[in-house]
Symmetry: D2
């Protein structure tokens, strides 16, 4: 059930959620965005992750998003759906929606209000995974959840029949390599990296791909970087890594807060005419001065012509 | 609308949520618990806080709990309802349920997935409070939310017509005193302390009461401690503080994790025959060895006869 | 050897270190400061703590300071000397200097570069205390050392013959009360609180005194607050607590960084003509705009006439 | 003065400090260790870093170590000396010793007791670097110092004539790549990575080398891995990376604490007969059960024959 080997290899953009206001999808924006990333050759789409502002969205809107994206994609690529929740029952409910809509997998970070210990985290996954009717990707996001998936916990969870892989957003490749080592006998278990700044090197050393926010903007760039790294074409991989760093270093660094990544990304998509930049609370979109800086960065990098 | 001065003074137990399983209320247990704490002379009840495991519960169950408790209390004391959520729209929806059920106020911690800055936190409250049809208590819980309500943010929020007070669970009384100082011209603004270990001293120095978990167990003890401190009866206040510390030092310290407080409390309530000790994921109840230690502690302290 | 009971009760100002430059004591300033605090009726002096910038000072200057202060005080009050160091051997060496100069006790925080576990911390104290020829105060300063003295560790260390007490600068009175409870059979073991904002309440509930930075400035205020709290004179204790909060809320909050406390304190001493405000790297004194704010605060509070 | 370009490229083992007791060097062990790493073809030696337990050692012993190592190496490779200290004056003094002994450079982390802000950190370096008579490597070690060298701070410091490079032990390659980007116009500025688990990939993407603890044990392995990565020999680089991970995953993971890396390394050197495994407080060497596990790991990996 956890999928054919090689199914979960490549670039899976964590889709931003285009909004008109805090509880209204920007439907044309969403449609343009989905086509834009699919046209870039991505391996699949991941909706309702951190980049998708999932925790800030009403359940009603999350359901609508799941249904719209699955319907539009219509099997052209697997859709992964974030079902992370502090409430077990709500994760089950989201996963049921996802399965019914035709999603290919769900993505699950740890509960993020109460700080659980590792045995509790493993038990949580052991209880929850059997209730989820799709392959499950674990999602290590300690900066937001306050909780690391320790390698032994991942090893334990990987023994469950539908746990198919892990996305690591810790930014710590030493940890990522420890995961690779302790799952060396499980080549079917997909290890994806979150921060796009680490895509190229993780794939050069055996990682299976990335969940790169910037692929909302330039999907082809990340797909090409993945391919170059996978083939071991080092000069090309380095060149594309430098382009990725140019995006990261300019567009994501405009504001002062840790939310600058997300604000910069939505702002850039809006400047490209793909989708509006409204953000759900507790965030708000960039105001004019930051927007101007993002515009200049897009021009400088050559994304805006 | 933020309530008559002196309405929000005293002990407001953060009710545990008695469960039969992860999505089923222990209704008789809940009824016994509500009567038990009301009989202890508490000033009000706070449901769906951290002690109530709110983030771990389905919305359906939260709605059921709101309705049952408000119906049972039937105006005998104000009911405060936690509406903290990562999604603005869900907080509004919970508050509407609470108001309709007859609750007296809502309690709001910061969103707890994305790390907001202070200006974003203030803006969030400024957007949200007007949508909440009841008095609002802010809830400073940085250990779980990763975000402090800085004094300037509280000062700003306190200017909103329905923001009535703040519960501080930071454990840092230096911060609490800074809040008192910067709200010295607002004697109607209630400042309650979370950790019961700090109840007596905060009230001795002008605090307005406590949201004490132990009051699920021995409501009268905390009410008496509050009264003694409020009246400046120092010998009595010290004696009751020592009893509170005896509970805290034994029952809450049995396990190894930060969840020991909650597990010990539910275990003790179960040993007293008030309500079962089932816990929603990611936690589980104490097993036999820990349960035995809690039983011994209850005997030693004289709560179990 | 750990001293007569009641010797370690009261206010022990953590002396700032007056400097002319990074490696030169401001000798006249130091002499004025020592007389100023002694005249205020303090129980003893604590030199080379965090407030004394000890880790930023050369060993040569630390030795000079120990000798000058002990000579000047000349038995009028006990002198406590900070010997915290990352190197065991240097702590031993500082303590030998302190003993030779006539100091009454040494103060020891945990090593602060490598993060030790609790068993390692206890073993460290068990190795080190016998090498220290004076009574030892433990110093819980997790914000700077990254390491808490867990109650069990303190309990273990308190069994050593010359470990006489603990100064807690964690700001967490719940922890302080747990220490009180687990040392209830050791009334001779002194428990002092660091943050002056917590002095009154900790003494009201059985604490033994405070190591209050503000006592450099207004020693009498803190001595009076201690006495009022110790006698249970609640109205007076509250009034003095409010004055302490007025100092804390104005003078220590002028800058943006966590070093504002220290900068504000040195700035205020300089405005009072007691000692210069030079600070050792990595800090620097307040520039003119901050200095003006501190001056206004001193005028408003009535410290500057 | 900051050295010829290409001088600071390659593997610089952070030498462990062989000890007989807390204040006595294991001189024959030290001599064997120095010859062992030099024979492995390393580019230089780094003494008195975290791996060298520098903060736990007396200044006397640090001086002895500097002199012995420089005398023994006798120009066969550059010796880098850690001069990090909480006291400015002591850093200057250590650097003077290093220069006199013939060291090639000094290494400087931020002061690690008081938490400085970034402007204070930059100013600290601006004050200190001119007092240091050798090229200076910055050392980003936030896990121990609580302070990150933000890219703008590094950029500022890199403008000083003798600041020659930076060693990053944060484990965060996203940060490392941001440094590379913001110093793209300074190809002479050396960027070295601390954690050996990240050596291969950082060099594949333009990093200049590593300060790898494991090179105490198997210097040739790390030199070969560096060379393979530098030449872009990807299959060979991957193979050597896997061997590095095998060491890291077994020898450094035996104990429970963050000090396991250091304890495992010293234990392994002792099993190889190179140097004793005594550790300065607050640490102690592995006892028999952990030692046996390290022995088994060395056999399994093929380091012990």
């Amino acid at each position: 059930m956890a999928g054919r080997q090689n199914e979960w290899r490549g670039i899976f953009p964590p889709l931003v959620t285009p909004l008109l206001d805090r509880d209204t999808l920007d439907v044309p924006g969403l449609e343009r965005l989905v086509e834009h990333v699919l046209a870039g050759g991505v391996q699949g789409l991941f909706i309702l992750g951190s980049t998708g502002e999932a925790p800030s969205l009403s359940y009603r809107l999350r359901h609508e998003l799941i249904e719209r994206v699955c319907r539009q994609v219509a099997g052209r690529a697997p859709v992964l759906v974030g079902v992370t929740d502090t409430a077990f029952v709500e994760s089950v409910s989201l996963a049921a929606r996802a399965e019914k809509a035709g999603a290919a997998a769900v993505v699950l970070a740890s509960p993020y209000y109460f700080p659980a210990g590792q045995p509790e985290l493993l038990e949580y996954i052991q209880h929850l995974a059997p209730e989820l009717p799709l392959p499950v990707f674990l999602y290590n996001m300690p900066g937001y959840t306050k909780l690391f998936f320790e390698p032994d916990t991942v090893r334990g969870a990987a023994g469950l029949p539908n746990v198919a892989g892990l996305k690591d957003s810790s930014g710590n490749l030493g940890y990522f390599h420890r995961l690779q080592a302790c799952l060396a006998d499980r080549p079917d278990f997909a290890l994806l990296v979150g921060p796009e700044e680490l895509l190229v090197e993780s794939v050069l050393l055996g990682g299976h791909g990335g969940v790169c926010g910037g692929a909302n903007l330039c999907p082809r760039l990340y797909v090409d970087a993945y391919q170059a790294a996978r083939k071991g074409d080092l000069p090309r991989a380095r060149e594309l890594h430098d382009r990725i760093m140019a995006i990261s270093g300019s567009i994501y660094g405009v504001g002062r807060h840790s939310s600058s990544y997300l604000k910069g990304l939505k702002c850039a998509l809006s400047l490209l005419g793909i989708a509006g930049d409204f953000m759900a609370e507790p965030f708000h979109h960039f105001r004019a001065p930051e927007r101007e800086k993002v515009r200049e960065a897009l021009l400088r990098i050559g994304i805006l012509g």
